[in-house]
Subunit: 294 residues, 4 copies
């Protein structure tokens, strides 16, 4: 579907407005219908808030009926996979459409337990989480009380629809949907940026780690493009690995054959999918620091 501009949406007949947003809220044209009369919206973010406001204005029973119209996780994941731009799939490879039989069984059991407890399917914005984080969230949310869980499900629908809206509508004041992960390497042994350091980024999961990106630092000690960008950062655990030993060896320093620092991993968690994570490495052959920077 070709993108539409906010101006066009603001100027459209009600019916066309509703049609243009079809599918963003699943089986729920009434959401767009409720937001139509309050146009014009100054920003896409304001439009999304109005749409969510329509959902939140309903009674709990209506909201439950609305959530019930969502597919359960395995189906949703497949669909999310379909609509995800190539860059997203490449970056974090959630791969819920490639579940092993064992994992599929586990999801099925969780889905069943969740349905029984809450009476509606488990909804989560899978593009904001690693596979492990989805499983952790699933199990944790099973312990919620029903009211808190309904609110959480609506929040997740908010994240899902915000992403869909940004993909569908061009205009000013887009709500934040993309995060960014960057790094830089500072050689505090010589007092300047470290150029030529090979870096790899991994997602760290229970069953191993998967490489998401590779880069080599430029003359400014940075990577030419962010390690992750143009998509939500998936909540989860990551590892940046810096080839520090090779770098200092190229500088010709007199270091032991087995250097103190060779391959330096920095493991860290991401909890803000729309945030900016700057994770630098300050390093000498004999020590290093890192921190969540800005």
């Amino acid at each position: 579907m070709a993108p539409v501009t906010l101006d066009e949406l603001n100027a459209a007949f009600d019916a066309d407005f509703v049609l243009a947003l079809d599918g963003i809220y699943e089986h729920a044209p009434w959401v767009a219908e409720a937001a139509a009369p309050h146009r014009p919206y100054p920003t896409v973010a304001a439009l999304h808030e109005a749409l969510m406001g329509a959902v939140r204005a309903q009674t709990a029973d209506e909201q439950i009926a609305f959530v019930r119209n969502h597919p359960d996780l395995a189906g949703k994941a497949a669909r999310a996979g379909d609509m995800a731009p190539a860059s997203v799939s490449e970056q974090a490879g959630l791969g819920l459409d490639r579940l092993s039989h064992e994992e599929y069984d586990r999801f099925e059991r969780l889905n069943a337990a969740y349905q029984q407890r809450f009476g509606f399917p488990f909804v989560v914005c899978v593009r904001r989480m690693t596979r492990d984080a989805v499983l952790d969230t699933f199990e944790r949310r099973l312990g919620n009380d029903p009211a808190a869980e309904l609110a959480t499900a609506l929040d997740e629908i908010g994240y899902i629809t915000r992403l869909r809206l940004v993909e569908r509508v061009d205009g000013p004041g887009l709500p934040p949907v993309f995060g960014r992960l960057s790094t830089h390497v500072l050689d505090t042994h010589r007092g300047g940026p470290a150029e030529g350091v090979a870096i790899a980024l991994y997602e760290v999961g229970r069953s191993g780690r998967a490489r998401l990106a590779e880069a080599v630092t430029n003359a400014d000690g940075r990577t030419d493009v962010p390690l992750l960008s143009g998509a939500p950062l998936r909540i989860g655990v990551y590892e940046l690995v810096f080839q520090v030993g090779e770098y200092f060896s190229r500088r010709g320093l007199d270091l032991p054959g087995q250097p103190f620092l060779g391959e330096v991993p920095l493991r860290f968690g991401i909890s803000e999918p729309e945030g900016h994570y700057h994770v630098p490495l300050l390093v000498t052959p004999w020590g290093f620091s890192t921190y969540r920077g800005s």
Copy 2:
């Protein structure tokens, strides 16, 4: 064989001195015979230097004949394993006596190439290296020129016999044969030692990592005993893993569900088997530093 004291060695008849040191230098009673007349030795270290001096005083041909009397690596490793105290095997698990068929074949090929190039077996003090480091050293030493390699072989015999001597002789002035690895965790968020942080130490090899030690920090942010001690530190790559997320969670801080720092690995190399490596962690929920300390 029961330990003997340096005083007893200094006072013994020549023949008894030689007998007491039997087997430290393989098939080479002449080493002890050459050192006997220069007694008394003030320290065990001085005795070892005198023994090595006798070896180094020989011609190159004599030294080659001496090295030839050593078994090749697989045999040597088995023997070293026999004589290694239990703590050593437990701590670093070189396990050259538990080679897979593939690894056995690789060692055989390296042994054959080495014999052909240098005319004597590959000698290395296996108690000072991880298995990966032995393989790296083996391949690197194959590139040495013959004179440099003969000197290296004698250096390794020096390390082997120094360890054997310290196990055989009690007395003042022991030469350094043991290393030490320690850590401490400082919580720079609250300005004091971090108590109760679970720590694991791993040897990191090409085919995976093996846990060598576990500990929990005490009220001083240190471990009650060093992570490694009472043996040479094996040259190789290690990883200390700190359960930082659990620690800060117990402190009750308001942190994200997916914390920025959960499990913090510090990977580092050891190149001085008889050295002291102090590898501390200075940490807040949002960053950390480490360095080779003292």
Copy 3:
């Protein structure tokens, strides 16, 4: 007065016990009298707690009468100066007996305001504070309500008498009265302790700074003795100054004529007179870290 042992105090007749402690509590033999029947005390700390317990068991009016028997600050300072061991005066040079006319007037005004507000003289343990800290405390305490201020005055009498008791009585379980300030310098450029770094310690006051100690780091990067010890650390602001530029210049590094780091000051506050402050410097020619260590 010659020191007495705790054993002697525990075994003495009541009258001798009271006599031995004469002057520790000013014009208040009843304090020792109240503690005498509960002997023996297992530790000097327990004895001091019992003495303070006798004070705290009194009514507020009795406590006020007790505090009234103390001299006001200028007099007290002079007296504290008399009894302070030479090391204490040298270390921090509070010098309240060397007040300028202007400062004397200021203390007089504060004393008068305090007397008028609370009905008893301002009592503070001057050996635990720099001159600036005494003035800050004085002004802050003028804002207390009367009950809180009476409690604070008794706390200060506790600090004063604890110091006096430790100087008068030898025995096990001395209460903590001395603090310690130490440092070490780690050269993370070469991965080892920095030897030969000149260090100076200053007290930083409103009207300038005064040098308290000087040292040069030894082969372990530490000072042979702590920078401050054997006395309470005075609450206040300090500066450690490290001659880092000279150190790296001696190492022969190729650095700019005007180095990035020459004289490195670390300014920090002390708030725990009986604590251990370890304030290290981790340094390369291009950066440094410090923290309150342990």
Copy 4:
């Protein structure tokens, strides 16, 4: 004199070209005359290199005669002060035109010794140094051998004329003449930029320190404009002072009345007047780091 463009210079008659550059090289129209025939110059930097090339192509005797046409330091400083833009004077306040009688005498003595030794006046680009650095340089250069000193004098004339050329000529490829000093404050206690930290920048000299700039960090932990920019950074010693105690106190942390970190000074040297110095502060209430960043 109104700025001229490089295009205009490239297109001008030789005589107009020489006139347009009059005064950049003192009493030496021949410099511009030698560079005129090689026009057009693609960049202002290339023009300056050609001008200096003409100077360096001369014999040593001609170069000495050329240097002799420069005023000695006190006169030069006054002149430099005249032409310096207001921002420069404000930023570093070299103030050689405001010498005390004592300092004036010292410069006079150095000038006389220098003239006697080298036969030409001491030339230095005063806009690239603090007053202390000028004095240090003066004394150090007195120890040079004559050939090295002549080369140094020409280098300084290169710096002086490069600055004058950039002020006179607009065009592409300006040579670097301005430096930049920036900072940012990262609160690693809460994992984000520290907003609202008051910062002062001082020049540190033998006779005290002078405030050059003040700022408060914004929401990104940075200052809205660089602390120094738009001029060469004067070679010398500086101090950044951060009001860290007030910042953490506003955050409502439970810290001692006398905080460990209140006013944090970072002292550092600048040796590259045209460089970028980024000197950040990573700080918790209990420790901090800094480094020359990028």
